[in-house]
């Protein structure tokens, strides 16, 4: 880099070089799940390819005999899969950079169903689909049944131990500026087969557009009314956070719903906030109960963002949070108090929990896995300290999970494969690095399933899960592209000893994993794979969404349901009931 020594300014050559330098860094990020790739766009606008693919799937699916034959073949193949390379061992990790299929191997689609041994428990798994609804996957048949509710993506669903489901479902209506003006929340019950068993109206919310901008076009297209639904850990209550614009303020609050009968246990209104002043506009997002911070006390996070000028194509944005504590006793949510010391913890408040002697912690993420801040606060909300954990860029996920006893927080970087454990009481942190991905091993026999691992993806929903006994942490790894042409891919499921943070092993990917969960008894680990791509993340239109079930004891594959449709599926929680 040269600068004209005779001038206070920069010469043209220097500027040209600077432009080249900055443009060099504009490299394509990993592809997001919610931003369909180019093939999906072709497919959506022109159905020809999809029709052709579906015809192929249809022929396969309609032939019962073919399915039987496939299962038989699959069982034979499974012998190869589950046979360890040495007695009693899973494939050993390699010292190489990742799994590699034979050169020129072309990935083929995963089978509709591959089962070894007993059927998994649970055999029915409820998933959230890419479009925001829910679907039941029957792992005994490899089939999918959905959508369940037909409501908006703001809905949340909880599965009971008997397989029945309760949904706090959100329906949107009205449309001003491309955004709904009204939402209605209802409690819907479904039996274990997914049949609607009853519906109870809960509440309606209506927001109004900003009258200051009635005569101008606002490219931001701000929301007028928002909701955020969650459930209490014990499954007794549902929390419906809401916010609505009533210029010049936003009203917001939380409605507590008794899930047993659909009655409203309590309502908590939070302090109003302005919708922006002068040339600034502000959207107050729906508050969310982030966690219990003591017995009888919860932490509520209410995000907001501002932009200015309102009609600009390129406004300046700011993002922050209002954080409150509130009492919660037998469903009675009350006494909200602002916690100013937590408001700037990070872009999103993802979790909160208790510390000894009335203190508490708040976990915030900025840029997904980019930066996690665990802020520890005293009983008087005074700052005890921050633990900061930086991760890889461009990975949209909640990288955190809490240990079963609530004393530790795990933070996972899916790209660098580093797991960090934070002792929440002391703030001490310890890190462990995942071992190199395993060779193809026995799966090499099915090398056509395992496209050569190549690159990275950046959208995970449920990137890590802690075993019920707290002894292990399972985490999904993704691979950064070796160069700018590489596509995204999975590096498999990394298994860590939760005590030592020593990496135990890594289970190689059968698909491009996007979500992971553990069975209630801890014996099985479930990994959901993306449709439209293979394990290496390469576009592959014939590959549908999939679920692979691993035996937690040795990493052998117990089941693959490989043809679950074209919508990406993710688990509702990291613990399957």
């Amino acid at each position: 880099m040269t600068r004209d020594p005779h001038s206070a300014g920069y010469d043209d050559a220097t500027i040209e070089q600077l432009v080249r330098d900055v443009a060099e860094e504009w490299t394509m990020p990993p592809v997001r799940l919610d931003a369909p790739g180019w093939r999906a766009r072709v497919r959506s606008s022109r159905t020809r390819r999809l029709v052709a693919a579906e015809a192929w799937f249809g022929r396969l699916g309609q032939a019962a005999t073919a399915a039987v034959a496939l299962t038989v073949v699959g069982a034979l193949v499974a012998v190869l899969i589950t046979r360890p390379p040495e007695p009693g061992k899973t494939p050993e990790p390699s010292s190489g950079s990742g799994p590699s299929a034979s050169p020129g191997a072309r990935a083929t689609s995963l089978p509709k169903l591959l089962v070894t041994g007993d059927e998994p428990d649970p055999a029915i798994v409820v998933m959230r689909s890419e479009r925001g609804d829910f679907a039941r996957v029957d792992l005994t048949t490899g089939s999918i049944n959905g959508p369940l509710t037909g409501k908006s993506s703001a809905s949340q669903l909880r599965v009971a131990a008997d397989g029945s489901m309760v949904c706090l479902c959100v329906a949107e209506s009205g449309n001003i500026g491309g955004q709904p003006t009204d939402v209605s929340v209802s409690l819907e019950r479904y039996d274990a087969r997914g049949k609607l068993a009853g519906s109870t109206p809960i509440e309606q919310f209506s927001g109004e557009p900003d009258p200051r901008d009635a005569s101008i076009f606002v490219p931001e297209r701000p929301a007028h009314v928002l909701t955020d639904v969650s459930f209490s850990d014990d499954g007794r209550y549902g929390f419906v956070g809401w916010s609505l614009r009533a210029h010049p303020v936003w009203h917001s609050g939380v409605v507590v719903v008794d899930l047993a009968d659909g009655s409203i246990a309590s309502r908590l209104d939070l302090p109003d906030a302005t919708d922006g002043e002068g040339d600034t506009r502000r959207v107050i997002e729906a508050p969310r109960v982030a966690g219990m911070i003591h017995t009888g006390s919860v932490l509520i996070a209410r995000g907001f963002y501002e932009w200015s000028p309102p009609a600009s194509q390129e406004p300046t944005y700011t993002f922050e949070n209002h954080v409150f504590t509130a009492s919660l006793d037998a469903g009675q949510l009350a006494d909200a108090k602002l916690v100013p010391t937590a408001s700037d913890c990070g872009g999103s408040v993802v979790r909160a929990g208790p510390l000894p002697e009335g203190a508490f912690w708040v976990a915030c993420t900025s840029g997904g896995a980019e930066l996690t801040v665990i802020r520890r606060l005293g009983p008087d909300n005074s700052l005890l300290g921050d633990v900061r954990i930086s991760g890889s860029t461009g990975i949209d996920t909640d990288p955190t999970a809490v240990s079963a006893d609530g004393s530790k927080l795990y933070v996972w970087d899916p790209s660098s494969e580093v797991l960090t454990r934070v002792d929440l009481a002391s703030g001490d942190k310890t890190s462990g690095k995942g071992i190199a991905a395993a060779d193809a091993g026995p799966l090499a026999a099915l090398g056509n399933w395992l496209a050569p691992a190549a690159a990275a993806k950046s959208w995970l929903r449920g990137a890590l899960a802690v075993s019920p006994d707290g002894s292990r942490v399972y985490a999904i790894g993704i691979r950064e592209g070796a160069d700018e042409r590489d596509v995204a891919g999975s590096t498999g499921v990394f298994v860590f000893d939760a005590t030592t943070l020593e990496p135990a092993t890594v289970w190689q990917p059968t698909a491009d994993y996007v979500s992971i969960a553990v069975s209630a008894d801890g014996k099985l680990v479930f990994a959901a794979g993306l449709p439209g791509v293979d394990a290496a993340g390469r576009n592959r239109i014939a590959q549908q969404a999939s679920i692979t079930v691993f035996d937690a004891s040795d990493g052998s594959i117990r089941l693959i349901a490989g043809q679950l449709g074209g919508d990406a599926l993710t688990f509702l929680s990291a613990r399957l009931r």
Binding site: V22, A23, C345
Partner: protein
């Protein structure tokens, strides 16, 4: 061309040129999500129009022509709120560099150029990238943008002047930033949120 051949050709084009398409899209849109969106849209359009591609001409140029049109059109049609992950990333990175002096002046100069580019019209940014990074001649750039070669030249001249002004204006601020150095991690005002603002704002007003 039968469909399978077109598929293979489009796949190869994506592998070879996706990042080049993305770079131009980002230069225009200045948003990673939007740029990625435009990149995918470009290849979808290219697939649909594959028979129109003149194989005597560089494929990258053809794709650049599509993406310039799409990105500018996208700007005209809408602007979507985004989380701006890379922006957060830069904030996080800077916070993690606590106590470390800025390793190179180039970094801060590049940031100044990024800021300067933010202040330019999208067509001007496109001109800069197409000319200085990809080396297209004025006529080709004019074809992409629907303007004359002379306009391309004058656009570049004015863009250089704007960047120059910004670089010179930003020098003192950059120096001040360097001098600030570390921010203690325990200080509540050092959040990524605060850092990513770029400009300071008053604390949110919460009405009673």
């Amino acid at each position: 061309m039968i469909e399978s051949e077109r598929d293979r050709a489009a796949d190869q084009a994506y592998r070879d040129h996706a990042n080049d398409v993305y770079r131009v899209a980002y230069g225009i849109l200045r948003d990673p999500d939007d740029a990625l969106d435009a990149t995918h849209e470009t290849f979808a359009r290219a697939w649909e129009r594959w028979d129109q591609y003149d194989r005597q001409r560089p494929l990258k140029g053809w794709l650049h022509g599509i993406v310039v049109h799409l990105a500018l059109d996208q700007l005209r049609r809408r602007r979507v709120r985004r989380l701006a992950l890379p922006v957060l990333g830069r904030a996080a990175t800077s916070l993690e560099r606590t106590g470390q002096p800025d390793p190179a002046d180039e970094v801060t100069r590049r940031q100044a150029v990024e800021h300067a580019l933010d202040g330019l019209r999208p067509e001007v940014r496109a001109t800069l990238v197409l000319r200085h990074y990809y080396g297209y001649d004025y006529a080709q750039i004019g074809t992409f943008l629907g303007i004359s070669s002379g306009t391309v030249g004058s656009t570049l001249s004015r863009a250089h002047a704007a960047i120059r002004r910004r670089l010179e204006a930003d020098d003192p601020a950059v120096a001040a930033l360097d001098a600030e150095g570390a921010m203690p991690s325990a200080a509540p005002a050092t959040s990524a949120t605060a850092a990513r603002r770029g400009t300071s704002t008053e604390p949110p007003e919460v009405l009673p």
